[in-house]
């Protein structure tokens, strides 16, 4: 990584920045203060404007999706972004004002729809309130006629004509009245009561003691007229809503244009974010950045072509970002490293090692030649058909390489869609046969040779851990921390190797027991003597040394953790076999064969889904927890160049990442 300074004339600023953005070569460096004599431009206003517009397009897209969900295939997420010509950005820019107008219109229509919906609810409530009064043929707010008092309202209980007369007689025996019950339910009775005008107060008093209440919104029209009006209003609203929806749908053709415009606003916003970082004078501007060493030449050429500018390189400082660069074999595994953490300047790039072990262990866990073949072919088709973006392509490549390893392990374990070949052989000839007998090469049976595979798993784990510790040794040595390299790492490596030789001796050559034991004891003594070296007095030193031996437990648990290699491999094989067995249960009639194929396909699909996920996660765990913990620190800053950070399109020939 190099630090770079690009100095150019202010009149060329637009051109230079656009070319830099297009080429994605440089990461802009954030400096707290500008150099003396320079100032920074305040671009907040423009930035806000672009961000607001981008937000508008986002809202508009959401509205369109709500009314007409975009048709996407199951595999659409693999699809790469659309490629457009760089010159088309100009066209998108000219159209952007129009598109913003459309977006605003969409948002307005959506707001109208919300208002209409609220109005509809209001109407419905009103209708529900008026429903009990439907039979009333005078306005709700009638109070009296020339001689009669009219009382309209509700009582909070159920009454019929008789019980109402009784209740009122009890309250006020003298009252003469005529009552009509309009509606009665257990919770409420709606009634209208006529009484002589001079008895109004008595009637009101009697009714009030029964819990009388006047209707909430009395009007001067009869309830039925009012209801009809509201219903009419509701129908009009329906039409308006329908119209607004149609209007929104008429804009669905602009979806792509809106997407493009959104990208345009985002990349303009990005540019203004960079302009705010530039050091400027009245005529000149300076851009500070980082660039990977191999791209320096490209940048010089690009700047030469674009405008009169000076490009200066110098060695990068501590804060410089990290760009992982690996060959084709290891590159797909970069995403696994980045998911954990970007390496710091102190670290070595663990990607090549991780890539090898990742493919290797994944294959051992998934371990089926048929599944491996499916992975290889499936990912190849996806890459070919959908032409995915680089990130997705690398992920697919990762599984492709894992698929190759899965195939090889599957052949070693004698597993091709479980024991499908043996099953078919049995169906045709009627003779039972194991895969071991069927396959011409020697195979390991995960079930019968489980113990051996367990030992193999732990042995592979030992190699994995030793490689991790070897990296630590190398890193410490390079930093000239020799004590750390030799005592803290080297002695433990010796100890583990000693134990391994000891174990091998117990299994075969007795003489190796002494060799291994000797190495282990020697390294243990070494550890006791050296691990307390930070302490002051002799007792502290010894005590620290002895206590450090306790770390052996963590190494043992790390090693045992690799038994998951056996566990997942065994599970894949057994699940596949069980589904094979299930599929042959239905006999050899036509119907049976159809069922067999269905169960076979569905069963193996389930097995693949479950075990591919399991293998992926547990391989990752072995890398992160068992291996990375030995040497990898991480915490570096990833290299994120100033580029067209677009979601929907990419420009042809751009240096996308």
């Amino acid at each position: 990584m190099k630090a770079v300074r690009i100095i150019a004339l202010k009149k060329d600023r637009k051109r230079v920045l656009e070319h830099l953005q297009d080429s994605a070569l440089v990461m802009v460096r954030h400096l707290e203060q500008s150099d003396e004599g320079f100032h920074r431009a305040d671009t907040t206003a423009q930035l806000k404007q672009f961000e607001r517009n981008a937000e508008l397009t986002e809202q508009a897209l959401r509205i369109l999706n709500r009314h007409q969900p975009e048709k996407k295939g199951m595999l659409a997420s693999f699809k790469g972004r659309k490629e457009i010509d760089p010159d088309e950005i100009g066209r998108i820019a000219t159209d952007s004002a129009k598109i913003v107008g459309i977006c605003q219109k969409l948002i307005r229509l959506e707001k109208q729809l919300a208002d209409y919906a609220a109005e509809q609810i209001r109407i419905r409530t009103l209708l529900a309130q008026l429903e009990p009064w439907k039979k009333l043929d005078i306005p709700l707010n009638t109070r009296e006629t020339a001689t009669t008092a009219v009382l309209i309202g509700t009582l909070p209980r159920m009454y019929d004509d008789v019980s109402l007369a009784e209740a009122l007689a009890e309250e006020c025996p003298a009252l003469t009245f005529e009552a009509e019950i309009l509606y009665a339910s257990s919770a409420m009775t709606c009634l209208v009561l006529f009484a002589p005008k001079k008895q109004r107060e008595d009637a009101e008093k009697a009714l009030r003691s029964l819990g009388f209440a006047q209707p909430v919104n009395p009007t001067s029209r009869t309830p039925s007229v009012k209801m009809q009006r509201q219903i009419k209003k509701g129908e009009d609203l329906e039409l308006k809503i329908e119209q607004a929806k149609q209007d929104i749908l008429s804009y669905t053709d602009y979806r792509e244009a809106i997407c493009e415009t959104q990208d345009y606003f985002n990349l303009r916003a990005e540019k203004y974010r960079v302009i705010a970082e530039l050091d400027q004078t009245d005529h000149v501007f300076v851009l500070h950045g980082y660039i990977p060493e191999e791209d320096c030449g490209k940048l010089e050429k690009l700047c030469e072509r674009t405008a009169d500018c000076v490009v200066e390189f110098e060695d990068a400082d501590e804060d410089a970002p990290i760009k992982l660069k690996n060959n084709k074999f290891a590159e797909p595994a970069q995403s696994i490293v980045s998911m954990y953490s970007t390496p710091s300047h102190e670290d070595i790039d663990p990607t090549p090692l991780l890539a090898f072990f990742f493919y290797f262990f994944f294959g051992m866990m998934f371990s089926d030649a048929g599944y491996g073949l499916l992975l290889v072919i499936g990912t190849a088709i996806l890459i070919k058909v959908f032409k995915p973006d680089k990130k997705m392509r690398n992920n697919l490549k990762l599984f492709q390489y894992c698929g190759v390893s899965t195939m090889l392990w599957g052949l070693a374990f004698g597993s091709i869609f479980g024991d499908a070949p043996a099953m078919i052989y049995k169906m045709i000839t009627g003779n039972a046969i194991t895969m071991k007998e069927l396959l011409p090469w020697p195979t390991l049976d995960t079930q019968k040779d489980a113990l051996f595979i367990m030992i193999l798993s732990i042995a592979l784990g030992l190699v994995h851990i030793l490689v991790g510790m070897g990296c630590k040794f190398y890193v410490c040595w390079k930093r000239k921390e020799y004590a750390k390299a030799l005592f803290d790492t080297g002695l433990w490596m010796l100890m583990l190797i000693g134990f391994a030789v000891l174990a091998a001796g117990m299994a075969s050559l007795p003489v190796l027991i002494y060799v291994g034991g000797g190495i282990a004891v020697a390294s243990a003594v070494g550890l006791i003597l050296t691990q307390g070296r930070g302490k002051k007095n002799i007792f502290g030193k010894l005590l620290g040394g002895v206590a450090s031996l306790y770390d052996i437990t963590s190494y043992i648990s790390d090693l045992l953790s690799y038994s998951r290699l056996l566990a997942l491999g065994l599970t894949t094989g057994v699940m596949a076999q069980v589904f094979n067995m299930l599929s042959t249960l239905f006999g050899t009639s036509v119907f049976g064969i159809i069922l067999m194929i269905l169960v076979f396909v569905a069963g193996h699909a389930v097995t693949i889904a479950l075990n591919a996920l399991g293998s992926y996660v547990h391989t990752m765990r072995l890398q992160y927890v068992e291996m990375f913990s030995k040497f990898y620190e991480g915490g570096g800053k990833p290299f994120e160049p100033f580029s067209l950070k677009s979601k929907h399109f990419k420009t042809k020939g751009s240096n996308e990442d």
Binding site: A450, L568, V574, M575, V578, M581, L610, L613, V617, R621
Partner: protein, 160 residues
């Protein structure tokens, strides 16, 4: 009598493996499904991701079923010879591993799945992290399954 008892114990073993592991998965998936439906009511576009996270605690039931099925094809119900009393006990003992291990890891994984779903609902980018964390619980069901499995496939050869 011993033959009947042996058969009974073997079938009981198949039932224990399938049912208890199934209970674990049913509870795990059920809880996760409730949460994911809550999320989907807000944003139905996450259906695929939610489905994956919801199904993760579903493997225990499958492991239990496989052990149950292997017992059935080894004890004379779907093939194999009728077990002796000792073999019947061995089948039952084997099934306890995936039965209990599957049930309790199913509960635990279900809880992890619920948290993972809420995390993914907040930010879709968290999906892969959630998936990885939830799958970590899986290994304990897997270990129980393997113990059951190794016993079940070796029982027919045991002279007990």
């Amino acid at each position: 009598m011993d033959a009947i008892m042996g058969m009974f114990l073997a079938i009981l073993g198949a039932a224990v493996a399938t049912v208890f592991a199934g209970i674990g998965s049913a509870k795990g998936v059920g809880g996760a499904a409730q949460t994911s439906m809550g999320v989907l009511s807000e944003d139905s576009s996450m259906f695929g991701k939610m489905l994956v996270l919801t199904l993760l605690p579903g493997t225990q039931g499958l492991y239990g079923f496989i052990v149950g099925f292997l017992i059935l094809i080894n004890c004379g119900v779907l093939g194999g010879a009728a077990p002796t009393l000792g073999q019947g006990f061995a089948f039952l003992g084997a099934s306890l591993a995936i039965g209990l291990g599957g049930m309790i890891s199913g509960f635990a994984q279900g809880k992890a799945a619920v948290s993972g779903i809420t995390m993914t609902a907040k930010d879709e980018k968290n999906f892969s992290k959630a998936m990885v964390s939830i799958t970590l619980v899986e290994i304990y069901a897997l270990l129980a399954f393997i113990v059951s499995l190794l016993v079940v496939i070796s029982v027919p050869g045991l002279k007990i």
